[in-house]
Symmetry: C2
Subunit: 367 residues, 2 copies
């Protein structure tokens, strides 16, 4: 799906990216503050998924992230089925934070929750409130982090009266410093994919539009017999254990990508030009088949927007493929070798060979 | 103002506090995650304004905080006057985060912005977007912190279409560990007050209600000739420099309080029973006089809700009063000795002697 087509569903990435660039420029003017704390800013951390600062013997990492609009699906499904999905939603919230943090090699130590409601009556549903708390704690535990506080403001007139904004932040650490994932891939590196559970936390705006226009809405059946709404609400996978295990076992991670918005285009986030050639594509999960069918989207649009069953990617030397796959599977992740990184002059692209799809670098402009 | 009266303006503290307690219980079950990172949780950091973790030679602090609804005042004033107040609003956002962080003695290293909009068109107002970025950078600089990234989601259906949720997080550090402000006051300690600029970031829901019901709204004149809206939008004071200077100069801070919601009741946050006897009360700023008059609030309600010109309080040994005042003034803060901490058996209270007001401990239940 192109950005302009996605804008029709309410998200203008150009406008957002323009503010993000302005914010990054202003943010750079504050770097001088670090020296008094004994830290400095490593080159090229700006614009990455996690912000890093460097001391002599460690890095600290800081991430602020939000769930997006996925909880609106949980709310709609609660009305339709009477079930509460906020345990899963809370795990999604932790996942979106910590999966960004680990892309630099940092392991999350503390995760804080931000839960802003339009009306404090949101918490009057005691089961929902309890499930939110229990899920957040479970997510933190899976991420190997402590739940380190948070904030629960009532924002009448800013947040819709029945809604909640779920977000948060994490503090992480890299020690020894050699565990940092710098983002230096090499010609011939293997691309390892780790399975996602479904859409995880991206592309939900379009999914809600599909449900609104479908005659059966969220209760429409997918090919596996489950409802579309249930498929959307499978909790996100947390990949911290994979990165930690690779570090403990000395598996060299040249680069990793948390596959989120922009789908597989996210694989080419590195500024250095490489072609990411994918030759092993798995069957899309039922939820992606449903979305493609209901929205009438071509494979090119689906792979450029959704994770398509791949939540995390790791680029490793060809010699480390077995070790990386063993590490992933030891943590309970389905994982497979998906392709190869190829140096092709100045070309930066993602090629999905079995599908005949190529994303050129001009389809991903994040900085 | 009592909590139940404040609830009439849309904020049910009881409901929120109940969820906060449930969240803290669930959060405690994750403490076991810290050991693998080489950290542990110090006693009694749960429920404090900043979350602390302890290593052998330092503490890390983590805070997630939000601005609240103050930016709705900026939006209304922009419509009325054509002026943009988002530089001040961004400083408010940083202030609310870092002023919480420093209450444990941590100095902020990195501050991240969370800016969630209902529609990406929010950023189409280029001046407003630029002022938001510039103000956040200025706030971070004043706080001695780097602006370490952030998140800018579009949350259609969760955030109102013309609104923005402003929040963020900070990572701080205490080193050497002796700089930690543990919260051990002693009979006879002096209470030092540092001036606020006005309401700062608390009690805005009621202020918006006042403006909605006042015939001249935000343009109503205060006693100093400025409008109510302007008075509300004076940017918050950042107190990081005061804590840092005290640490550098060896001024012992037995306890500090960021005076926010719950007004001066916040002075008795410590579980240990003490009476905080205030005998030096300054004339209320025009904005507080206006609020009291327009809402018909007694002094007791005002001092129990608003900061009343006092943004930060420090409890120091009587012998350190001059040094603390000198430190505050060297940083440009108006500061004065306001009163004394008194041990009175099991009694926990705030007494404002010149006004004949006493807040007993049952008026503040935060844990």
């Amino acid at each position: 799906m192109t950005d302009s087509a996605y804008a029709a569903a309410g998200v203008n990435y150009d406008r957002l990216d323009s503010f993000k660039r302005a914010a990054q420029q202003a943010a750079r003017t504050t770097i001088g503050s670090l020296a008094a704390h004994g830290y400095r800013e490593p080159e090229s951390t700006r614009g990455e998924s996690a912000y890093l600062i460097e001391a002599d013997d460690h890095y600290l990492a800081h991430v602020e992230e939000g769930l997006g609009t996925k909880n609106l699906v949980a709310d709609a499904m609660a009305t339709l089925t009477g079930r509460c999905f906020y345990h899963a939603i809370a795990i999604d919230t932790v996942a979106t934070i910590v999966n960004d943090l680990i892309t630099c090699g940092a392991l999350p130590i503390s995760v804080a929750m931000h839960a802003a409601v339009g009306d404090s009556e949101w918490f009057a549903d005691e089961l929902r409130a309890a499930e939110l708390a229990r899920g957040f704690a479970d997510g933190c535990r899976t991420a190997g982090a402590v739940w380190g506080g948070g904030e629960t403001p009532t924002l009448k007139g800013i947040v819709e009266s029945a809604a909640i904004v779920l977000a948060g932040s994490a503090v992480g650490r890299i020690a020894p410093k050699s565990n940092r994932i710098v983002g230096r891939v090499e010609n011939g590196d293997a691309i390892i994919f780790l399975a996602s559970s479904g859409v995880q936390t991206n592309g939900l705006t379009l999914c809600r539009k599909i449900a609104a226009e479908h005659p059966e809405g969220y209760l429409a059946k997918m090919t596996d017999g489950r409802s579309f709404g249930e498929g959307l609400l499978d909790p996100s996978v947390i990949y911290v254990d994979f990165v930690r295990t690779c570090q403990l076992q000395g598996v060299p991670l040249h680069y990793v990508a948390h596959v989120t918005g922009h789908g597989w285009r996210k694989l080419m986030r590195l500024a250095e030009p490489f072609v990411y050639r994918i030759d092993n594509v798995t069957e899309p999960l039922p939820v992606f088949q449903f979305i493609a069918g209901a929205a009438g989207l071509e494979a090119r649009e689906m792979y450029g927007t959704y994770n398509m069953g791949v939540g995390f990617a790791a680029m490793v030397p060809a010699s480390a493929v077995d070790a990386a796959l063993t590490a992933a599977r030891a943590c309970g992740h389905a994982a497979w070798r998906a392709g190869t990184v190829v140096r092709a002059g100045e070309r930066r692209a993602v090629e999905i060979i079995p599908l005949g799809i190529t994303f050129d670098s001009d389809t991903l402009q994040l900085r």
